[in-house]
Amino acid sequence: MIAQALLLARWKQTLVAAIGVTFSITMFITLLSFMTGLNKLLDGLVLNRTPHVRLYNEIKPSKKQPINEIPSFKNSYNFIESIKASSSRQQIYNSGAIMQAIRKDKRVVGFAPKIITQVFFNEGMVDIAAAVNGIDAKAENELFHFNEYITEGNAMDLKNIANSIILGKALADKLLVSIGDVVQVTSTEGDRFSLKVVGFFESGLQEFDKTQSFASINTTQKILGEPNSYVTDIQIKLNNMGQAPEVAREYATLFQCEAEDIQTANAQFETGNFIRTLISYSVGITLLIVAGFGIYNILNMMIYEKMDSIAILKATGFSGWDVNKIFLLIALTIGFFGGFAGLIFGFLLSSAIGQIPFNTSALPTIKTYPINYDPAFYVIGVSFSLITTYLAGLFPARKASKIDPVLIIRGK
């Protein structure tokens, strides 16, 4: 009650203090929402499309060279020069069984088989080299948001229309084709195929779009002249991304193939994320500390102004702790209401930013600035505001509680 009266008596100062907190919480929320929104977007650019674990076979020399198997040389160190890879297949051996095994693994959300191969697109006299990714459009959509990058056409047409292909927008521009046109491709073996263009995709990475195209797994197998079991990649999405390195190691030994985890493949994204989050937090906390000093100052001034009141309260039976409580309550009230207003303004400001058009050719599916409305920021924001205001109130409150009423009253 006394705290309330003191707050109202100095309502201008109180308001300034509360606005300080409001401002810092607003900025904190906005900054974090925006930064993590961007983070998520950038993650989405690469990480969403990247499998957590990728199984593949690499063309490389065998680790077991024949000389090492000869009993007389087995225990010696053999130097071999100019090793060549021999008759390695890019195909994953026994892919059907592997997929069965992966499907049973509880850690796995899902997987998408894939064939990556190089082809030439024949455009008049010119051959343009590009990759064809043979994909299971349905699994790809579910796990890696493939359809988000399709700017024209429909990803499912790959499945529904035989001998169809989706081209990177940049590649399509080079080939001067539009949807419904037919493109000629030549496989590395020299076989020629006609494929119908059913869509374009834009990944946000121009170079990528220039050299990539997507077809169904069956179509790709046909281009390569390979059987139904031919798969070069298995992309796996896990429930918990953190388990990826562990799962990758396990699969590598279990299935006798290469397994790459997302952390190894995209280490720099993790670092970037971490730094951006760190910056947002430190700016937010700095703002709060500044607001905390504001509160500290205002409470200190209030104590000097209200010396007489504190003295009479103590004379008429309020103990030091009671006085302490009053000033802590003032600080926390400022913190609570300032922080609460900060949450509201932070929400409003971040949703306002979320309305600003943000068109960039690199990110075709993004129309406005990305904002992450994570409730955790709001919880953190309010706790920070309460903690800082409590700390800011602690010292002035203690000072007030130690005021000697005799000195004040006799001093008059």
Partner: protein
């Protein structure tokens, strides 16, 4: 037959700034219930210092203060605050009303702190005391809108809210003109005579002191009369 409300035993106090000065030297006296006592003496004789020691607000002294035969020595700050709240009413030279509150709230404040009565009862008691002092009309006014004499009367009402065993005054008329001084004195006299309220008033106003039942005169830290 009369019970002792307040007793001072061998009170000594020294200031050590910069040389040791003995402000109070072996003060002994007691006050009975219903006494209207004034402490007088020249400026600097230690009368106010003595009052603040008796009030439990000043705790750095030698000797013992007993309130209702209960020693205040070795009591914690919180317990002393409780004693002041419950048993002592204060009237100072300056009114020390909280400007943020109405007159009624100011009077109620120590009562709410004591928490022996509900809020509405405390309010009722506060109004009774304001009526007794003839200032009930001011109840809803803000404390800073009052004249000096009115403020001092509100301060007296505040001192009375918890039915204190003793009212201590430090120059309660020091800031008032003659007319208001008389009003305040009459209130004290009325309290002493009609309500058998114990009063201990420090004053240098000889005229005021002469009219009280008992005068304690001090000089150089000692009681001389």
């Amino acid at each position: 037959m009369s019970e002792i409300i307040l007793e001072a035993r061998h009170i000594r106090k020294k200031f050590q700034d910069p040389v040791t000065i003995e402000v109070l030297n072996d003060i002994n006296f007691s006050i009975n219930k219903g006494d209207f006592v004034s402490i007088t003496g020249k400026s600097g004789c230690g009368k106010s210092t003595l009052l603040y020691i008796l009030s439990t607000m000043d705790t750095s002294y030698e000797g013992e203060v007993l309130i209702e035969q209960d020693s205040t020595a070795n009591k914690k700050e919180k317990q002393l605050a409780r004693i002041r709240n419950e048993k002592i009413g204060f009237v100072f030279q300056f009114h020390y009303l909280l400007n943020e509150f109405t007159v009624l709230k100011n009077v109620m404040l120590p009562g709410l702190k004591l928490n022996n009565y509900s809020q509405s009862e405390v309010e009722h008691r506060a109004m009774e005391r304001l009526k007794m002092l003839g200032i009930e009309a001011l109840a809803t006014k803000k404390a800073n809108k009052l004249s000096g004499g009115e403020k001092q009367r509100v301060a007296i009402a505040r001192a009375l809210i918890n039915d204190p065993k003793i009212i201590m005054g430090d120059e309660p008329t020091g800031n008032l003109d003659k007319k208001n001084s008389e009003i305040v004195f009459d209130i004290f006299k009325q309290l002493a005579e009609e309500y058998r309220q114990t009063l201990l008033i420090v004053t240098h106003d000889q005229g005021f002191a002469q009219k009280t039942q008992r005068i304690i005169e001090m000089e150089d830290g000692k009681i001389i009369h």
